[in-house]
Amino acid sequence: MTALPQTTAKKLGLVIDLDTCVGCQACATSCKEWNTQGYSAPLADEDTRGADPHGPWLNRIHGYEVEDTNGKDSRVVHFPRSCLHCETPACVTVCPTGASYKRAEDGIVLINPDTCIGCKLCSWACPYGAREYDVQEGVMKKCTLCVDRIYNENFEPEDRQPACVKACPTGARHFGDLGDENSAVSQLVKARGGFDLLPEMGYKPTNKYLPPRAKRDTPQAGIEALPKGDGSAMDRLFKLADRLLSGN
């Protein structure tokens, strides 16, 4: 049903650390790999060897450049973007069939691929671009928070995490219950000042982002000044070598 649950027992979600993400795309590829055989299977791409390869991916890694406030320096921030499993998601309430729903037990937003009619209205309602249309299947696809991993008793307990979290080589992705203020992820959000994307839109995203830390070095610090010549034989030899190597 597309009516939202009043509250959810848990608020499972991700905490993404923009400070340590290196933009390696491991989370995106492991997401695609898992989900093309799991709940969202198949997750096929179109024109894979042609000029216009495209298809549904449930996790996309953007790159942004952020300039210092004084305009003297800039840094690149890698920015993974997937479903934020909002507390009040408009994508669910606009769904005419009830294929989109939010689970009362853990807050995961899912699409039932057997009842989705592929009208795409949910993708219009989502401000985060979390839902993508699967042309071959004729239904919408989105992040399932690896619902088929996190409760999977065939896995060792430490593997019962979303594929993207397991794949991240820098530990920039954390999974847990954001509804429990004592959980490791909630503590992390508190300690690092985790924030919501587009908070003013009021969809109350569960996933949180941790801001990049302040830079510790300045652009000039790493550059060594050239030593002044002292006129010694060795110094004249180096100057000769420099002239010959420079070709003048």
Binding site: T69, C95, P127, L198
Partner: protein, 307 residues
């Protein structure tokens, strides 16, 4: 937003169909059974035909048309579901009205109530269509108080224009429909003018800074994929402002010509046929612009500074 032709066809065709149906129903409440069987049958077939073509066009546009019946289930939360329910519910009333109004089944007492119910359900259906767009907070140009009134007056203006054209074909006096058509057209032009003024003035309050949380000095460095993905194809369609202002001008000129033809039709009735053609062209231009100018918040993640 990507202006999909199936959705433009659906909203313009069903709008004209429901507008015509509403006017036929409303006039029957005072006039009663149609004096001309031929006019009644043709008018009903055209009204229901336009509605059906529109509904089929939008159904065929689905990924799974065979599951479309499921869309009737979530009327408690979804305006798209409500639109489906309103459309389905209006069919039997419209058919019963058409049969009694045309005189195929003689029930003079039933004509007026059935006509009134049909008119009400027709307008409710158009209202729900407008609401689907007006309730999307992600698209500033749609999330406007004038979106729904524009949809309603488009239905009335194109429906009455169609009514005039059919009356001319059957050599009938359109009666009160002639002034109604002009009033609807002028109101529509005024509402659309106010709507465009409103979306131009509406603050673009969502920013790339709020979308990424990375502050005011953020800009796109690289996109996550080499070719356009679904989100960019569907939501990233942005028409150049210069292009838009020309199309707005074209809309008003075509609408003005349609209005002049409707006025002149009181002397030469057949001109109302050309009037309807121009009205429908104006509807297509307006609907295409409605989609093309719908700037989606998700574009903030793809380099758009404000939405």
């Amino acid at each position: 937003m990507n202006p999909a032709y199936s959705v433009i066809l659906f909203t313009t065709a069903s709008g004209a169909g429901y507008g015509l149906l509403a006017l036929l129903g409303l006039t029957s409440t005072s006039v009663g059974q149609s004096p001309s069987l031929g006019f009644a049958i043709v008018a009903m077939v055209i009204a229901l035909g336009l509605i059906t073509i529109g509904l089929l066009s939008s159904t065929m546009h689905l990924g799974h048309p065979e599951r479309a019946w499921r869309a009737l289930s979530q009327w408690k939360t979804s305006w798209l579901s409500r639109e489906g329910v309103a459309a389905i519910v209006s069919y039997p009333f419209a058919l019963a009205f058409g049969v009694t109004w045309a005189g195929l089944y003689t029930a003079p007492d039933a004509v007026a109530p059935l006509g009134f119910i049909t008119a009400a359900l027709s307008l409710v259906t158009v209202f729900t269509t407008g609401k689907i767009y007006a309730t999307l907070k992600t698209i500033r140009a749609w999330h406007q108080p004038l979106t729904v009134p524009v949809y309603l007056f488009f239905a009335l203006a194109s429906g009455s224009s169609l009514h005039l054209a059919l009356s001319a074909l059957f050599g009938r006096d359109p009666g009160a429909i002639a002034p109604v058509a002009l009033i609807a057209l002028v109101t529509l032009a005024f509402l659309k003018f106010l709507y465009w003024r409103a979306i131009d003035a509406a603050p673009r309050e969502h920013t790339m800074a709020n979308a990424t949380g990375l502050g005011a000095n953020v800009r796109q460095w690289e996109v996550p994929h080499t070719t356009k993905n679904f989100v960019q194809r569907e939501m990233g369609f942005v028409v150049a402002r210069r292009h838009a202002s020309r199309l707005r001008g074209l809309f008003f000129i075509v609408l003005l010509c349609a209005g002049l033809l409707e006025l002149a039709a009181s002397l030469i009735p057949m001109l109302s046929l050309a009037g309807f053609v121009l009205m429908f062209i104006a509807a297509w231009v307006e609907r295409w612009l409605f989609f093309a100018q719908g700037e989606h918040v998700v574009t903030l993640f793809y380099g758009n500074a404000q939405a």
